[in-house]
C-alpha cells in the first residue's frame, strides 16, 4: 500500500484505493464487478444509467462517479440493489425496441447480457413505449437505429473526447431525450468507420451499426455466449 492509499470494503471485502479513484475504479482494480451500462473503459464517467448504484455507507450512489473514501462501507451484490438494477434494465428495454431475436447485437449486447445477469426473466412489468424512429442508413459504412438506443451517452463522449468530432449529442428533454447526429443525417456528418465512437466497444447495444458486419460472428463465439457479463474472468 502506498502512502496515500486507503482501504474501504465492498460487500465486506477490503479494497485498497488511492485518492481520486471512484468506487468502481477501485472495485475493478480489486477484481470486483459492479454492474454498469453507461460506463466503459477509456471514456470519462457519466453516472447516467444508475445501474452501478451501490449503497455507500447507507447512501445510494453511482459507483462510477462516487469517489472512494477511507473506511467507506459499500454494499454491491445485495438483493435490494440487484432488484433495483433489474427494474432499471427493464425500463430501458421498455423505452426502446429491443427485439433480441432479430438484432445483430444479440450475444454481444451489454443490455441483453445485463438482463441475463440480473435474471430479468419474468414478463415485462412496464408498458412499452414502442418508438418508431426511422433507421438512418444514409452513411455508406454506418447506420443508426435509435429505436435501440439506451441513451448511455458513450458514443457522445467517444466522439467528443476521443475522436474530437462531436458527431453525436442529445436532443429533446425528459422522456423524449434521445441521441441524434450533428447534421441532417449520418451522411452529412464527419462520421467515419474508423472513429472510436462507432467501434464495437462503444455502443453497448445495436444502435450504432457497422454495415455489412451483422451476424458474421457465429452463435457460440459471441462475447456473452458462454458466461454472464462481469464474469468473463470466471468463464471457461
Amino acid at each position: 500500500m502506498s502512502g496515500d492509499s486507503f482501504t474501504f470494503t465492498i460487500d465486506g471485502v477490503e479494497v485498497t484505493a488511492t485518492p481520486g479513484q471512484t468506487i468502481m475504479e477501485a472495485a475493478d482494480a480489486a477484481g470486483i464487478y459492479i454492474p454498469r451500462l453507461c460506463d466503459v473503459e477509456g471514456l470519462r464517467h457519466q453516472g447516467g444509467c444508475r445501474v452501478c448504484t451501490v449503497k455507500a455507507s447507507g447512501r445510494s450512489a453511482a459507483a462510477c462517479t462516487q469517489p472512494a473514501a477511507p473506511d467507506l462501507v459499500v454494499d454491491n451484490e445485495t438483493d435490494h440493489l440487484n432488484t433495483m438494477r433489474r427494474h432499471l434494465v427493464e425500463m430501458l428495454f421498455q423505452e426502446g425496441n429491443h427485439l433480441c431475436p432479430v438484432c445483430e447485437a444479440s450475444g454481444n449486447c451489454e443490455l441483453q447480457a445485463m438482463a441475463y445477469r440480473l435474471e430479468m426473466v419474468e414478463p415485462f412489468r412496464f408498458p412499452g413505449l414502442e418508438p418508431c424512429r426511422p433507421v438512418d442508413a444514409s452513411h455508406p459504412d454506418i447506420a443508426l437505429d435509435t429505436n435501440r438506443c439506451i441513451s448511455c451517452g458513450r458514443c457522445i463522449r467517444a466522439s467528443a473526447d476521443v475522436d474530437g468530432k462531436g458527431i453525436f449529442g442529445y436532443v429533446g428533454r425528459g422522456i423524449h431525450r434521445r441521441v441524434a447526429v450533428n447534421g441532417s443525417d449520418l451522411a452529412h456528418t464527419d462520421a467515419d468507420i474508423n472513429d472510436h465512437a462507432v467501434s464495437r466497444q462503444v455502443c453497448p447495444v445495436g444502435c450504432i451499426i457497422r454495415k455489412r458486419e451483422g451476424f458474421s460472428i457465429p452463435i457460440g463465439e459471441r462475447e456473452y455466449d458462454h458466461g454472464l457479463i462481469g464474469d468473463e474472468g470466471d468463464s471457461e
Binding site: V102, E104, K211, F215, I217, P218, I219
Partner: protein, 480 residues
C-alpha cells in the same frame, strides 16, 4: 333439415398456424361451398421494409418455427444476388445445403409421424382422443421413439450449421458464418446408418399405406392439376436447394421449363380474395380461373426427371411404376413422396458429411451491389419465393414472399370441396370423424398457415348481418 347450416372447424388441428374451415350446407344438407380460411395475419412483407439487407435472413425466418431454415436460406439466396454474388464458395454452399437437408428431414418426419400418422394408422374416423402422436408412442413405442430421434438428428444438423436448432444465424449475404467441425461431423456420421435404415422403414410404411388405399386415395381430395418446383439445370433432377423453375400440366407436358427463378413474376401472378389473408397465385398463361397448381413433395416427384441419390432414385422409379398416368395426383400420395425425400435427405447428408469442403475456411464472397434479388428454394412444403429490392443505403424497399402454402391455396380449397361433397354432402348426421376427413385433406399438403398470410393493404373487411333464420339482412364491405 329445415334451414341452411354452416359447419366450422376452428382451428384446423395438426397443422402449423391457425386456420378454419367452413362448409356451407343448404336446406337439403348438400354442400354449397367449402373454404379454408386463414384467420391470422403476419405482415412481414410490410414491416421488413426499411430494415437492413443483412438482417433480412434472420428476421424473415421468424415467419415459422417449423421450417425457419427455408426462409433463412431463401432470403440469404436473394441477398446473395443483391450483394452481387452468383457463386458461393464450396464450403458456404455445402454448409447451407447440409442445413437445408437437415431441415427438410426433420420437418418431413415431424409432419408424417406427429401430424399425419395418427390418421393413417388409426383411421380418419377413429376417436379424436386417439389421433395424436402420444397414442402412436403408446401403441408403438419403437415407432414413436424413432420419430423423435430422427427429428432430433435433423435439428442437430441445423444447430451445427446455424448455431441454434430454431432461428439460427448461419447464412449471411454472400456465404456462411461457420464451417463444420470434425467432431460434429463424426458425431453425425456415427448415426447416419441408423437414420438411413429408419428412413427406409418410414418410406415402406408410407408406400404400403398408399398402395393399400390406392383406390380410396384416387378419389380423395385430389384431381389432376399443374405442378411446379425447382429442378436442376440440365438434367432436371430433384434439387431442394437450387435450380430453375419447371411447371408441368396434368399430363406431364411443360407449361414452362428451366426458367431462371428470378423471372418467376413473368409466369406467376397472385390474386387476392376477400375472405382470406392468403393470396391465390396462378399461372399467367392460363389465367386466374384454371391456372392453379400444386407444389410440395408430390409435385417434386412429378416434376423431377430423376433423383441423384441411389436409394431415393429407386424409390422415385418405384412410385411412378405404381401408377399408369404420367403424373400422380392423389393428395394423400404426398406422404409417399415425403418419405422418399427423407431418404434423399439422409443420403445427401451422408454425402456432404464425407466432403472435406465442410471444413473449409473460405466462407464469404463479395461482389458488386445490385438493387434487386430473388431467392427460390424448395422448402419441405414446396416451392418458396423471396423477392426483395434494396436501396443504395442497404435498406429494403420492397418484399414479396410466395410461400409453399400460398402456392397450394387454391388446391387445398378444391381438395376440401371435393372431400366435403363426397363425405359430408347429404348426410343426416355429421360426425366428428367425417369432419376430420376435411382436415386430413388439408394436412396432406402439410400447410404452414402462419407462413402464408401477407395480404397487407389488400384485405377488405366484410361484415354480414343475418336474422335468426340465417337470412342475410345487410352487408357492408370496406374495400382495400
Amino acid at each position: 333439415m329445415d334451414k341452411p347450416r354452416i359447419l366450422e372447424i376452428d382451428p384446423v388441428t395438426r397443422v402449423e398456424g391457425h386456420g378454419k374451415v367452413t362448409v356451407h350446407l343448404d336446406r337439403q344438407g348438400n354442400v354449397n361451398e367449402a373454404r379454408l380460411h386463414i384467420v391470422e395475419f403476419r405482415g412481414f412483407e410490410r414491416f421488413i421494409q426499411g430494415r437492413l439487407l443483412w438482417e433480412v435472413p434472420v428476421i424473415v425466418q421468424r415467419l415459422c418455427g417449423i421450417c425457419p431454415v427455408s426462409h433463412h436460406l431463401c432470403a440469404a439466396k436473394a441477398m446473395d444476388r443483391i450483394v452481387g454474388v452468383d457463386q458461393l464458395t464450396p464450403t458456404a454452399e455445402k454448409m447451407r445445403r447440409l442445413m437445408h437437408y437437415g431441415q427438410v428431414m426433420q420437418s418431413h418426419v415431424l409432419h408424417f409421424f406427429h401430424l399425419s400418422a395418427p390418421d393413417i394408422l388409426f383411421g380418419f374416423g377413429s376417436p379424436a382422443e386417439k389421433r395424436n402422436v402420444f397414442e402412436i408412442i403408446r401403441q408403438n413405442p419403437e415407432l414413436g421413439h424413432r420419430a423423435v430421434l430422427m427429428r432430433k438428428y435433423g435439428q442437430e444438423i441445423i444447430e451445427a450449421t446455424a448455431g441454434k436448432k430454431i432461428h439460427g444465424t448461419g447464412a449471411i449475404p454472400g456465404g456462411i458464418n461457420r464451417n463444420l467441425s470434425t467432431e460434429r461431423r463424426d458425431q453425425f456420421l456415427a448415426q447416419i446408418d441408423e437414420m438411413q435404415d429408419w428412413a427406409l422403414e418410414a418410406l415402406a410404411l408410407a408406400r404400403d399405406y398408399c398402395l393399400r388405399e390406392k383406390d380410396f386415395i384416387a378419389k380423395f381430395g385430389g384431381q389432376p392439376s399443374n405442378y411446379m418446383s425447382l429442378v436442376r439445370p440440365g438434367d432436371g433432377a430433384l434439387d431442394l436447394y437450387d435450380g430453375n423453375l419447371r411447371m408441368l400440366d396434368a399430363r406431364g407436358e411443360a407449361i414452362f421449363d428451366q426458367v431462371d427463378d428470378s423471372r418467376y413474376h413473368e409466369y406467376l401472378t397472385e390474386d387476392v380474395r376477400r375472405w382470406s389473408y392468403m393470396k391465390f397465385p396462378y399461372i399467367n398463361s392460363i389465367g386466374a380461373d384454371d391456372g392453379w397448381y400444386r407444389v410440395g413433395p408430390l409435385a417434386r416427384m412429378n416434376t423431377a426427371d430423376l433423383i441423384d441419390t441411389p436409394l431415393a432414385a429407386k424409390a422415385h422409379e418405384d412410385l411412378h411404376a405404381a401408377f399408369d398416368t404420367p403424373l400422380i395426383h392423389g393428395v394423400l400420395d404426398n406422404h409417399w413422396a415425403r418419405m422418399i425425400e427423407v431418404v434423399h435427405c439422409v443420403e445427401k447428408i451422408r454425402e456432404l458429411l464425407n466432403d472435406p469442403d465442410l471444413q473449409g475456411t473460405d466462407l464469404v464472397v463479395k461482389g458488386e451491389r445490385r438493387h434487386e434479388g430473388v431467392g427460390v428454394i424448395e422448402a419441405p412444403r414446396g416451392n418458396l419465393i423471396h423477392h426483395y429490392k434494396v436501396d443504395e443505403n442497404d435498406q429494403v424497399t420492397f418484399c414479396n414472399l410466395i410461400v409453399s402454402t400460398t402456392h397450394n391455396n387454391e388446391a387445398m380449397n378444391r381438395s376440401i370441396r371435393d372431400v366435403a361433397n363426397k363425405h359430408i354432402s347429404g348426410q343426416e348426421v355429421i360426425t366428428e370423424g367425417m369432419m376430420n376427413h376435411l382436415e386430413v385433406a388439408i394436412r396432406a399438403y402439410d400447410p404452414c398457415l402462419s407462413c402464408a398470410t401477407h395480404a397487407l393493404g389488400q384485405m377488405p373487411l366484410k361484415v354480414e348481418l343475418f336474422d335468426s333464420n340465417d337470412v342475410l339482412i345487410d352487408s357492408a364491405l370496406q374495400s382495400p
